[in-house]
Amino acid sequence: MNLSFFDQFTSPCLLGIPLILLSMLFPALLLPTPDNRWITNRFATLQLWFSHLITKQLMTPLNKAGHKWALILTSLMMFLLLINLLGLLPYTFTPTTQLSMNMALAFPLWLATLLTGLRNQPSASLGHLLPEGTPTPLIPALIMIETTSLLIRPLALGVRLTANLTAGHLLIQLISTATTALLPLIPAVSLLTASILLLLTLLEVAVAMIQAYVFVLLLSLYLQENI
C-alpha cells in the first residue's frame, strides 16, 4: 500500500476500533507507580524531582487560590511532554497532531479560567478588556480588539500545538525521504541531508518539550489574570 506524506497523521484504527485512546493512555504507563516508601528508586526520584520543578515553576506566580490548579496543570504538562516526545520515535502516532484533541484540551481549560474570573472578580475581568489610559476616541475599537484577542486564545492554543508538531513531523518525513532517495544517486548530498535530518531531529525534541511548556504556561498566565 502506497503511503502519502499525510498518512502518518491518520488516527489509528484496528478492526474498526479507534486506537487513539490507547496512545493517549500509554504515556501514563511510563511513569513509575507511587510507593509508600519514603525513598524509592532512582527513576521515581527523578520523576518526582521533575514534577516538583514543573509545579514550583507554574505555581510561583499564582496566588493561593490558583494553587488548586496545581494538579491539573502539572499532569497536563507531563501528559503533553510525554506524548510529544514519544511521537518522535519512528512509526509512532502522535495524538497531539490532531487538532480535535488539542482543542478539546485548550477550549475547556481556557473557558474555565475565563469563568473563574467572571465569577470571582467580574469587575476586574471586564475592566481588563480596556487597557488603562486609552484615549477616549479609541475606546470602542480597542474593546472590540481586546475581546477578539480574548476569544481567539483557545484557538491559538490548540492550533499552535497542532501546527508545530505536524510541521515538525512532516519535515522529518520529507527530509528522511530525500535522504533515502538520494543515497543511491548522490551519496554526498545524501550525507548532507542526513546531517540536516539529525539537526532537525534535535530541534524537534526541543520543540516537543517547549510546546508542551508553552501550552501550560499560557494557561497559567490566563489563570493569573483571572484568579
Partner: protein, 59 residues
C-alpha cells in the same frame, strides 16, 4: 497582577466618574456600554421591518 488599580489618585466628576479609562470601574462601565451598544445595533438590524420592493411591471 490581577485587580491592581492605579487610578486611585484621579479625582473624576460627572460623566468621567463612571466612564474613564483609568479606574477599574470606569473601564468596566465602558466595556459594558460598548457591548450593550453592539447588542442594540445587532438587534436593530435584525428586527427592523424589511422594505417590500414593488413588483416590476412587465415591459
Amino acid at each position: 497582577m490581577a485587580g491592581h488599580d492605579s487610578g486611585s489618585q484621579h479625582q473624576f466628576t460627572g460623566f468621567q466618574k463612571y466612564f474613564n479609562s483609568y479606574t477599574i470601574t470606569g473601564r468596566r462601565n465602558y466595556v459594558i456600554a460598548t457591548y450593550t451598544g453592539v447588542a442594540m445595533l445587532v438587534l436593530y438590524f435584525k428586527l427592523r421591518p424589511k422594505k417590500k420592493t414593488p413588483a416590476v411591471a412587465d415591459k
